[in-house]
Assembly symmetry: D2
Homo-oligomer: 343 residues x 4
């Protein structure tokens, strides 16, 4: 059994990790920390785990993590970088779900997250945890930086095209919409039920923190800079990201359906839908699948790529477990096989 | 492996059965029928099952079911009674999720369901599938009549009290509210998103089909007639039933919290919450748990019992799988251990 | 034109007052205060009012209110009592939407609101603002204490019965459910979209602050004490209260439908639905109507009363405007005639 | 008083017309027709209108419309064209909310609506009812073809830019999302609460019926062909359209905020938000406003235009009433001044 700890387990990625790990056949949950909820039973905060998770929240101290083989960080941005060095020194592997180790350009990170990075040396060492692109590096990593929820959807939606070099990389549009769980579990007026329900809006249309991560990720895949306009929107749903990508094909006579099907034929969690389909976010609710469909309106050169994932699963905790499985030499889908909850 | 068939697999209890059985370690799904969707791949109708369920819908004919050990009927009321006799004759066990075999009083059934019962002889033989009350009879049954969603919540909320004889059985109130999936997956104006969303109402307040089933079930538990007023309401949620029960305690100095905890201490799927709790339907979303909490406003004799279950899981398909496990001698929780999806 | 001020205009009852008063033909909005949003344009906080309300929030000081004829207090409990004495001294009438002046029993108020009451002398003077019961007293009042949202629905649902003396007043059940706007517009985890959406629960089942107000109001109507069990629930909707009341008729041969129709035939905002109806909360969304329907399951003595209102309108700001119209000698429905928004 | 009739009043644009016209000071509702609901009181179908609209549905016959000055058609596509000729012959003005008279290219209409057009001669005569572009022609029209909900949002979002000639018209993206009321009030599985709630998807991504109307409208504004990719999405909300438009500015040093503010400064129902804003659909819920905000991510040449409207109001029935006001020489905003309902 892999002994697993979770640092920062009171948010939605934390409870999602617990939900997935509670059913993982090779994992023993040994520690979960929360400064604010220290001493509280996990099941008191998250009653869905009553009878299934017995732990109490403990202090986020290295001593409480020492018996772990692997620790997930489900902390807000800027927290993991302080504790991760100690954890690594203790010979424990780390999967960080925050943005702390995603951007290789430290100055860019500091600009978007408005703080000084306190562990820049670890950024070089960290492996970007997108299995579909980085599987081999993940398998030997000590620190994995789990991709952001939006960036996962954009990269999976464009990967086959960028690898094949068949779209104009200078002008791509990614119009994304996310469920409210993407905003976290902090008290706020903006995310009250009464502010979000029965409504819809764009936000951060002039620039969102995931923009540089998206640009870095796409450039890595394409082997050169990619120009992309990314606009996120807030959906009145609990979970789910839907990204509608618009790209211009360089040649008209390419079979993009076949291109995607071939690229992802061996990927356990990327599902290319039949031609003409429209993925619904509910078809991946609570599951680790990413479903993709392709359209060419009027059979022109404009390609519309529809991508659906669960922001808490494939967009965060599910992908983290997938990375853990790869790091531990397990079958990549272990503990991740449940169908989405529908309706 | 138990070879399982599903008759009538295009509704919400059907897809919920498929979701649960797809992950059941001892079940092999061999047949799923639907007259209207014959030849269609299950995963085309329910994309959450892509890659997990390979079957196509076939005609609901006995020949398509003959290789099964057990068949679930997830058909509308009045359908199972025609095919079940043949299925039983073929030596196949049956779990019916419809109301066809729930009421022992045939005349009452015919009155509430406005049709002639065509297999009254089977009603006597059928075992009411509420494991918490009928476990032993279920284990040897050939036909199980799965309880209705509302009746499950009402019976579990009152069982310890009726068995202990500590409430006035002549005047009980059950104020229930259900998610929209309880209304099924038929085209209708009344259940359009735009008719239900951001709204709430009672329905059938003068009398609902589940009233006689509730009365029969409570009488069986109490050993005599029980007077109950049951009013259902429609919630703008996908899944979940919440029943608020009001009963008058016969004596003031009873510890109802202890009574419930003792009664349900060995029940795998009934969870008595700590004193002062309020169960949320989301805490059982997609899970087979029923969560119960008890309140005595002003410490008076009025007992308020709060019951939450998922109408598609413990209120239908999950309970059906629980019954199957009992009938097949498996651990009762096999395939039913996943935590609820939260948020 | 009546010069109107609003103290505490940043909550949901505040914006609802603004929405209603912006269209009121005899009202001039002169002041709106908010300590936290001082200097901010109202339309920046509530973009639905862009182009319709020009005011900025100002400090809640008596000097900013002196030009008003009437001031609404839409403040949290415990705030109005400090400023109202000064406002009254300046010859300005007051309608308080908080609980500060609702309970005549000061000790009871202090117990439920956990603070010392600082203007008990005003409580005697305050008139309870339920027009259907107190119209005449309201018309000459200087201070009106607007009823709570739940108490309005319970009192309107029981008034004809209590006045006629035809139910057992010792054992009434009021099972209520409210939209989330009833919880206010403060930052909180409990009322995040992701905590409330697609879920349902009871809360405060052991005792809610509206219990003593309900008991006082019903006793005033009945002319003696009334025993009622009140359990509130939280609905995943923005607006709307639905209360299901259970009462025992003292005699079987009473025509309750006629009783209600007669009692409310001249009430502009109480609508008794035809026999067999079920009021939906959306049928009163944004309107000042309260819709009521009556059922007698199995034609027995148990009477089920279904009551729907908008908690922000008839349950708060609409009722406050109705009281203002009465106090100012206007037609009671002025500015309140818009149909509910459906869908 | 203008005597008004409504043909086809049982859908959502019908009830929205009724809601708006019930409060219109210069309108007398004289007839409302529905073949299926003939003889039913309007208030029985739409309880929000109880006490406010007294009519019954009648047969859609010319004899029932003869006393009208103006008739709204709120019928499905393909219905108005049969009755409109008779209505016009009787000297009655017509505002059609369906698509029957929107497209000047009859062949294109027949291709997208899969039927033969039976009144092509009227198409020439019909005026496209977008007041912001066509006010003068509307004022003298006998037949107005009300714009579609999506096309309204796209045209208002692009009008200032196309008129100023400052964007590349060969490659525009309009990513739209609509509430479910846009799909109408017909029984269907696809629009059940349980199919739509807590989910999101694109639909008709390969081509939607509003595409040719959008192309025609933009070409009229631009004075030449415009290339646009339009992809609609389905939101789990009752009302509201949000369109996110992406366009390339031809020059970097243009002040688009000023351009929009100037263009719309005298428009009563187009509201250009301050720089940096993000319009929410709820800010226009039930109102006739269209709110627009502009963004230039990274201050580049890509312009992001955010447009919010209520699909039933500015996108249908509100715009129809606005056209009526213009045709009748009334102030354009008569009966349309209510603020949006928020929350």
């Amino acid at each position: 059994m892999i002994k697993v700890g979770i640092v920062g387990g009171t948010g939605y990625t934390g409870v999602e990790l617990l939900r997935l790990l509670a059913g993982h056949p090779h994992v023993q949950l040994v520690t979960i920390t929360s400064r604010s909820e220290k001493g509280v039973a996990v099941a008191d905060l998250f009653p869905n785990l009553r009878g299934l998770v017995d732990l109490e929240f403990s202090e986020p101290l290295i001593d409480n993590l020492k018996s772990c083989d692997l620790v997930f960080f489900a902390t807000p941005h800027g927290v993991a970088q302080d504790l991760v060095p100690e954890v690594l020194k203790a010979g424990i592997k780390v999967i960080d779900l925050s943005a702390d180790f995603r951007l290789r350009d430290i100055a860019l990170w500091e600009q978007w997250y408005a703080q000084t990075h306190r562990a820049p040396q670890l950024v070089e060492q960290a492996v970007y945890g997108l299995p579909e692109f980085n599987r081999s590096a993940i398998s030997t990593a000590n620190v994995v930086a789990c991709p952001g929820c939006y960036p996962t959807s954009v990269q999976l939606g464009l990967m086959p095209l960028l690898e094949a070099g068949c779209i104009d990389v200078s002008d791509i549009i990614a119009n994304s919409a996310s469920g409210v769980s993407g905003a976290g579990r902090q008290a706020s007026v903006a995310n009250l039920f009464t502010e979000v329900s029965d409504s819809f809006k764009a936000y951060a249309a002039s620039g969102h923190r995931h923009q540089p991560e998206i640009e870095q990720g796409l450039a890595d895949i394409a082997g050169g800079p990619v120009g992309i306009t990314f606009v996120p929107h807030l959906l009145p749903i609990n979970r789910g990201i839907h990204t509608t990508i618009y790209a211009n094909l360089l040649e008209a006579d390419i079979d993009v359906q076949a291109l995607f099907e071939q690229r992802y034929q061996n990927e356990p969690f990327v599902d290319v839908l039949p031609s003409g389909s429209h993925p619904q976010t509910r078809s991946v609710r609570g599951s680790n699948y990413c479903r993709i469909a392709l359209h060419r309106p009027g059979n022109g050169n404009k390609l519309v790529i529809l991508v659906a994932e669960d922001n808490l699963t494939k967009g965060a905790s599910g992908q983290a477990v997938q990375c853990m499985n790869i790091m531990q030499g397990l079958d990549e889908g272990t503990g991740l096989a449940s169908p989405a909850l529908m309706p």
